[in-house]
């Protein structure tokens, strides 16, 4: 159970070192991405001008305020509340994000499934769990909205955040096939029969 501080971007070697139950804190660039963003990128063939090679994406659609562009707000947006959404809906985009854009880290809540675990193993990537619903706190880790692309999809634009101390985040899926979600789910299903029996359910 080691802790790592990552200045983004990272290398394949850095993420392959990570194991389930390690913790990671990110510094520098972080991209925000969501359902519609990825539907447009991977189903409708839209491209982004951002270089996400070696970077992390967080599953989010933030609350923002339109402001005049300035050194403090180069994108013309000030953050209000930025938090993480359920990842499971975006399962099928993990592999193309990694293969086509070189993304190494996916940050989300609730976990991803087997096809993502396979992509993490094949290409070299990890899933980091943020505490969902703790967005007021998560917002304090974000310094600035540096840039935004595909903004016609707002709030599901492709966001470029500058972060300082984004974490600690829990490595809950690693590049060796480890998944805390699979472990917990299997253990929970093993307890199903006793949970039903304690209510007098007859089989």
């Amino acid at each position: 159970m080691a802790h790592y501080d990552f200045q983004m971007p990272v290398t394949e070697e850095q993420v392959r070192k990570l194991e389930v139950n390690d913790t990671v804190t990110l510094h520098g660039t972080l991209y925000g991405i969501r359902d519609a963003t990825q539907i447009h990128m991977f189903d409708h063939g839209r491209m982004t001008r951002f270089d996400m090679n070696g970077h992390a994406v967080v599953h989010t659609a933030p609350n923002v305020k339109e402001v005049e562009k300035s050194a403090e707000h180069p994108s013309g947006y000030a953050p209000i509340c930025i938090g993480t959404t359920t990842s499971a809906r975006m399962e099928r985009f993990t592999r193309p994000l990694m293969a086509q854009y070189g993304v190494r880290i996916i940050i989300g809540k609730g976990g991803l499934s087997q096809s993502s675990a396979d992509a993490f193993r094949d290409i070299g990537g990890v899933y980091l769990a943020v505490v969902g619903g703790a967005a007021a706190l998560e917002t304090t880790w974000i310094e600035q909205i540096e840039d935004v692309d595909l903004d016609d999809l707002n709030p599901e634009s492709l966001w470029k955040f500058r972060v300082q101390g984004f974490g600690p985040l829990l490595v809950s899926m690693d590049s060796r096939g480890g998944s805390l979600y699979t472990q917990v789910n299997k253990a929970a299903r093993d307890r199903r029969a006793s949970a039903l029996a304690c209510m007098g359910v007859k089989f």
Binding site: I82, G132, V184
Partner: protein, 291 residues
């Protein structure tokens, strides 16, 4: 009592923002209770982060969660209240739209086919407005619930049959909690609708999921199920965020309705740990905010 609709519009704007920023005291007490009893280190750490988030949201006057949800307004009208019902609905929607534009809030509401977002948190039949009536009271109460999608996406209906009995209900609830895993942002309030028609059953599951912690089903049979199911789902070890632990759900809440001799419907709707709600109560003395 005659209702001032301008005041209703202002209150409905304020309610959306209040609901997103201030967690009700019963939910905070629920966190304290789970945190004191949690034995899993990961689960304990996650509960600690959630509790800290509640404090940060209050200090920074920020939203608890980025998900502004689908706005729901539950209106209860006393028999001594005089109001134009259609104008009341318009005032509620206007308040909801103004909260979104003026705060501003992320509009999470889109057309179901085109996915177009009007950036008002409003759309066809949204905000959801439920209206009920109570006797002999010069009271108008409006409860606002921003229903997050992480939990709402985990909703189920099963039209079980009478031959499967109450065991079908119990089994279904446990299986829904297992299927939801971490996707619903546990610890949750599991809302269970039992009986009625298909649509009433689903509606009751939402009423149950958004009821205050510590409240019990008025139907003693429902209350009995609540106690059994709460114990059962917290034996599964799903834990906070689905990462393991004792704190899978604050509680299982049940609401019941009479049903057909051939039917045995059960519905499950979940509420995430950010179990947000706010209330405005109008009386002849004025308007007060609460939960």
């Amino acid at each position: 009592m005659k209702v001032d609709l301008q005041q209703v519009e202002e209150a409905c704007k304020a309610l959306y923002i209040r609901a997103l920023k201030l967690l009700p005291p019963d939910i905070k007490a629920g966190f304290a209770r789970l945190d004191a009893a949690e034995t899993n280190a990961t689960g304990k750490a996650i509960l600690g982060t959630m509790i800290r988030n509640i404090q940060v949201a209050e200090q920074n006057e920020n939203l608890l969660c980025q998900d502004t949800g689908i706005p729901i307004y539950n209106v209860t009208i006393g028999s001594g209240v005089e109001v134009d019902g259609y104008a009341l609905k318009q005032a509620i929607a206007k308040g909801c739209e103004r909260a979104t534009r003026e705060h501003p809030l992320r509009s999470s509401v889109v057309h179901p086919v085109t996915r177009a977002n009007q950036h008002t948190s409003c759309g066809r039949l949204v905000p959801v407005i439920n209206i009920d009536f109570i006797p002999d009271a010069e009271t108008l109460s409006i409860e606002m619930i921003p229903k997050g999608s992480g939990s709402e996406n985990n909703s189920w209906l099963k039209m079980a049959i009478p031959a499967d009995g109450v065991d079908a209900i119990k089994t279904f609830v446990v299986d829904c909690v297992l299927d939801a895993g971490g996707k619903t942002c546990p610890p949750t309030i599991v809302g269970v609708g039992v009986g009625g028609t298909a649509d009433l059953c689903v509606h009751l599951s939402k009423v149950a999921a958004t009821r205050a912690l510590g409240s019990a089903c008025e139907d003693p049979e429902g209350a009995k199920l609540e106690a059994q199911l709460t114990r059962a789902v917290n034996q599964l070890g799903v834990g906070p965020q689905g990462l393991g632990g004792d704190s899978t759900s604050f509680a299982v809440h049940v609401e019941t309705a009479a049903t057909h001799i051939t039917m045995n419907p059960v519905a499950v709707n979940m509420q995430c740990h950010s179990a947000r709600r706010a209330r405005a109560t109008f009386t002849p003395l004025g308007m007060t905010f609460g939960f």
